[in-house]
């Protein structure tokens, strides 16, 4: 069992990383990685939704018939997104003012749906929950990394406004590395997103090849 969890963790964080391994969820990835903070916020919100919907799908997996599974999965993801949206608006309003913009976008992310289909619909509850959490964290890391590269090259800052997202205690994370005029604007615009995401995918593949692994397309668990 322990090795199975280890595989899930490794899969989520690196091997089958949602963005850098499976190239899923690129729509919110391109849209929200204009800064490291935005990437982090989008990633965290997605991780919460992924964990909750993986758990639910796994619990009900024997009740959901093959024919209607896709609409049911979509229903579950959309319901979780709405739930998170309402609760944050009511009880975490400061955070909501920053993240609120991103939350509805999670519905349009195909990564949660792919993991429900490929993993949670077949596996027991605990592994599914773990898969949701670690795929979510892997997504967060990838988005933060892409956001960091784009922000540093495009705006000359790193983790700007992180204190709005995480609270005043994280003010220290906000860095100004270059004068703002030095930034290459293109990196913040959509082309920069494709460039940076592409370069990071290449970087991951090079590291994998160096480590002697076969290049994985889609990966072991993925059927999507």
């Amino acid at each position: 069992m322990a090795t199975e969890y280890k595989t899930i963790v490794k899969d989520g964080l690196w091997e089958n990383n949602g963005v850098l391994g499976m190239l899923l969820g690129l729509c919110p990835t391109m849209a929200m990685t204009t800064s490291a903070t935005n990437g982090l916020g989008m990633g965290l919100a997605t991780a919460v939704v992924m964990a909750a919907s993986s758990l639910l799908v796994s619990v009900f997996r024997s009740r959901i018939t093959q024919e209607v599974r896709i609409p049911v999965f979509i229903l579950i993801v959309a319901a979780m997104v709405t739930l998170v949206d309402l609760c944050m608006n009511a009880w975490m309003h400061e955070l909501y003012k920053v993240l609120g913009l991103f939350i509805p976008l999670i519905v349009s992310n195909c990564l949660p749906l792919a993991r429900l289909e490929a993993f949670a619909a077949k596996e027991p509850v605990m592994p599914s929950l773990m898969d949701g959490i670690f795929m979510g964290i892997g997504f967060t890391l990838a988005l933060t990394a892409i956001g960091a590269v784009r922000e540093v090259t495009g705006a000359g800052t790193l983790f700007a406004d992180a204190s709005l997202l995480l609270g005043p205690a994280f003010k220290f994370m906000e860095m100004h590395l270059m004068p703002p005029d030095m930034g290459v604007l293109m990196m913040i615009l959509p082309p920069g997103g494709f460039l940076v995401a592409g370069l990071l995918v290449v970087g991951k593949r090079i590291l994998d090849v160096r480590a002697g692994k076969a290049i994985q397309m889609g990966g072991a668990h993925s059927a999507a």
Partner: protein
């Protein structure tokens, strides 16, 4: 037999829909009051940013009149009063941005001078168009103390259009929409000044204020 199999899928889907609809309905009920309270707090906060405390001794959230703008839309005008005089008004204005409407709150004193402008809601590109927020930049503060004659009307444009206001790098449409919204907001005040600053203008029926 086959018919029955078909049925079961519909039933399963229907049960899930009902179940989640119920959960969402309950959540909506549980959060509605808090969300409304937060929205009111936000409104009070944005009002206090565009109407300085020093010019009034009432609560502008509770002193409102309803007016119609040129397009027939209803506008709620919040009014600051002091010693029986209207000293300032604030109302929502809308600009068309890069990605939909930009909602702003404009505060104007009794002479038509801008007391302050703040963005309430927008969908502009993060990192580019969102510099209109005070959190991300002080661009929006440059409108303080300006009025329709200062600068002259034909200069109420972004520099790219021959006006006097800076656009920001990578985003022209957003500031253009904001500048235009403020100019139109000031024109609205100029056209309706008498009614807006009339202390006896009939108050709008007020929803319960906390």
């Amino acid at each position: 037999m086959k018919q029955q199999r078909m049925m079961i899928h519909g039933v399963i889907l229907g049960v899930f829909c009902l179940g989640f609809a119920f959960i969402l309905a309950v959540t909506d009920r549980l959060t509605a009051k808090d969300i409304a309270a937060r929205a009111l707090e936000d409104r009070q906060n944005s009002l206090s940013q565009v109407i300085p405390d020093s010019i009034h001794n009432n609560n502008p959230v509770t002193n409102t009149i309803l007016m119609k703008d040129g397009q027939g839309n209803e506008i709620t005008v919040y009014r600051a009063t002091r010693e029986g005089k209207v000293t300032g008004v604030a109302y929502e204005i809308f600009g068309s941005g890069y990605a939909g409407k930009i909602k702003l709150m404009l505060g104007v004193d009794a002479q038509g001078k801008v007391l302050g402008v703040r963005v309430l809601a927008h969908k502009e590109t993060p990192g580019l168009g969102d510099k209109i927020e005070t959190k991300k930049g002080d661009w929006i503060l440059r409108f303080n103390d300006l009025s329709l004659g200062n600068p002259p009307v034909e200069k109420w444009k972004v520099k790219k259009d021959g006006g006097q206001f800076d656009q920001f790098a990578g985003a022209t449409i957003t500031p253009r929409g904001v500048v235009r919204a403020i100019r139109e907001g000031l024109e609205f005040f100029a056209a309706n000044k008498a009614q807006m600053t009339d202390i006896d203008a009939s108050k709008a029926p007020m929803k319960e204020a906390h």
